[in-house]
């Protein structure tokens, strides 16, 4: 069995345990789970038999309008396996467990997702804004964020009321 088939078997087994769905997008296997299962999922993915996905490559937040997605890209330094794990996060109350206990390298990546989307990572050692200043208002990569500065925004609002 090739690496890809073993990985697929492992992922499908894991998906049935954590109520996830598996699909294939271009060259990636994508596993979608609900936010509460994320620690279990990633711990299992890190310790897959034969195809451990043990290198956290990236964490990205995505705004899907009715929910957020936190997308984890996993690879390995010892094999060609790669996996994309998506966690569905509630938009009203965006909370998800931090994976800094599994990979300390998630520190900056989670801070970035918090900075841009306001996703709260529970258990993160230092969850502060990383790019923007501390008293910045709003989360700029959310789709409903208004990009004009407040003073311009107010002028526009007045104009709109006049028209």
């Amino acid at each position: 069995m090739g690496n890809k088939e073993v990985l697929r078997k492992n992922v499908e087994e894991l998906a049935s345990r954590v109520n996830g769905t598996v699909e294939e997008m271009l060259d990636y296997l994508v596993l979608t789970v609900k936010a509460p299962y994320i620690t279990e999922t990633l711990t299992a993915a890190k310790n897959f038999k034969e195809t451990p996905c043990d290198f956290l490559h990236d964490i990205a937040g995505v705004d899907k309008m009715d929910h957020f997605e936190v997308v984890y890209h996993l690879t390995s330094l010892r094999g060609p396996q790669k996996l994309r794990v998506k966690a569905i996060v509630d938009r009203e109350n965006p909370v998800i467990d931090s994976v800094t206990r599994i990979w300390p390298g998630a520190n900056f990546m989670e801070r970035e997702a918090y900075d841009m989307f306001g996703i709260q990572f529970k258990g993160h050692p230092n969850l502060k804004r990383i790019y923007l200043w501390d008293d910045f208002e709003g989360f700029p990569l959310r789709k409903d964020y208004v990009t004009e500065p407040p003073e311009v925004r107010n002028i526009m609002r007045v104009r709109r009321a006049d028209e």
Binding site: L26, L56, G61, L132, P140
Partner: protein
């Protein structure tokens, strides 16, 4: 006296940067000091944050290419290539052979130029003024070569979705040949004046240790990972473009210290020269642009594409919703993640070692801050 040794002295907070010559841009760190020993570092970034990911959402796919130049501005062809290849993967575009070869020549030239800046600035951070001049002198020749392809020197921006914008001028090829012929000798020159120096060796060996285990769990990539004893390179592990056709080695060192992180760059320049020589030998004639629709409208879907930047792995995660503008572009930049190991490599050393260790990570703030 005994009290000072056991309990330490009063903690001193030292603010370094953002305007400081050794910070390679606008990086700022707050250093906790006991005497001259570093006990903790808080990195502060974001002084060069331009919100490229937000900008991408209001630009068309082609309009975003010039922005990628401004990520790692010392190796802009790499960023162009990563982004264009990501979009091509999403749309299923085949790039003509000649364009693939030209891309690789430009990318490897950029790798050499980036490492030259690294050597120069790392030497300068340790007050090696003479060693600063030599790499910069030769980097001019690479910038001249870029100028012959695209007309610009730093932000090259000659790659398009589906190929490359310009055929190089006729004088490009002889200039490239003579550059390739001269470079091994120059490399020896850099080595002798910088790493061969006894003082430089004394300052860098066994300083700034980043073990293999720590590097892996901190998601370190690029030369910093390879200097910690992991032989991993995306060009070999998951070849993009036509890298699988070239014969080259992935250098690896096991010292895990600042010296090895410097030395590995010299070895990588050598490998890049090999790749360029093979590419110049094999490059075919033919078109340089694929047939691409006028309006670029990728299908609904998502793609993740990563390339080996000179400083780490650069990844583009693009989510398309079927319109002419991307729904989300996430840039995974190598040095942003690599900076996490600062605490690991510098705590317990002296302030001047911290400067050398930070220089060995080769951070470029355009890429860190996005």
């Amino acid at each position: 006296m005994a009290d000072i040794l056991t309990e330490g002295t009063e903690e001193l907070l030292l603010n370094m940067g953002p305007q400081h010559p050794s910070m390679h841009g606008v990086f700022r760190m707050i250093v906790h000091l006991q005497g001259e020993t570093v006990t903790g570092i808080e990195p502060k970034i974001g002084y060069l944050h331009r919100g490229l990911e937000k900008l991408a959402e209001s630009r068309t796919y082609a309009q975003f290419i010039p922005y990628t130049d401004r990520l790692d501005y010392l190796a802009s062809p790499h960023n162009n290539m990563a982004y264009c290849q990501a979009v091509e993967k999403l749309m299923g575009i085949e790039v003509p052979e000649r364009a693939e070869y030209l891309r690789i020549i430009l990318a490897e030239l950029a790798r050499i130029a980036s490492h030259q800046v690294f050597i120069a600035s790392a030497a300068l951070d340790m007050a090696g003024w003479t060693a600063w001049g030599y790499p910069f002198r030769d980097r001019e020749r690479i910038l001249d070569l870029f100028e012959m392809v695209s007309g610009s020197r730093l932000t090259v921006n000659c790659m398009r979705i589906g190929g490359i914008s310009h055929e190089p001028l006729p004088e490009f090829w002889p200039a490239l040949e003579s550059f390739l012929a001269d470079m091994p000798e120059k490399l020896e020159e850099y080595y002798n004046i910088y790493l061969g120096n006894e003082i430089a060796q004394a300052r860098m060996k066994k300083i700034g240790i980043l073990t293999k285990e720590k590097a892996e769990e901190l998601s370190i990539t690029g030369p910093a990972l390879r200097a910690s004893g992991v032989q991993y390179d995306v060009r070999k592990a998951e070849p993009y473009g036509i890298y699988d056709r070239f014969d080259f080695d992935v250098p690896v060192l096991y010292g895990c210290d600042t010296f090895d992180r410097n030395l590995i760059r010299f070895m990588e320049i050598n490998e890049s020269l090999k790749i360029i020589q093979q590419a110049v030998r094999d490059i075919p004639e033919g078109p340089i642009m694929a047939k691409v629709p006028k309006v670029i409208k990728p299908p609904v879907g998502e793609v993740y594409h990563r390339v080996e930047n000179p400083k780490g792995e650069l990844g583009f995660y693009i989510v398309s919703n079927g319109t002419t503008k991307p729904e989300r572009v996430k840039i995974r930049s190598g040095t942003f993640v690599n900076l996490q190991c600062l605490n690991e490599i510098a705590v317990g050393t002296y302030v001047q070692d911290l400067i050398a260790s930070f220089a060995s990570l080769d951070a470029v703030l355009g890429e860190v801050d996005k």
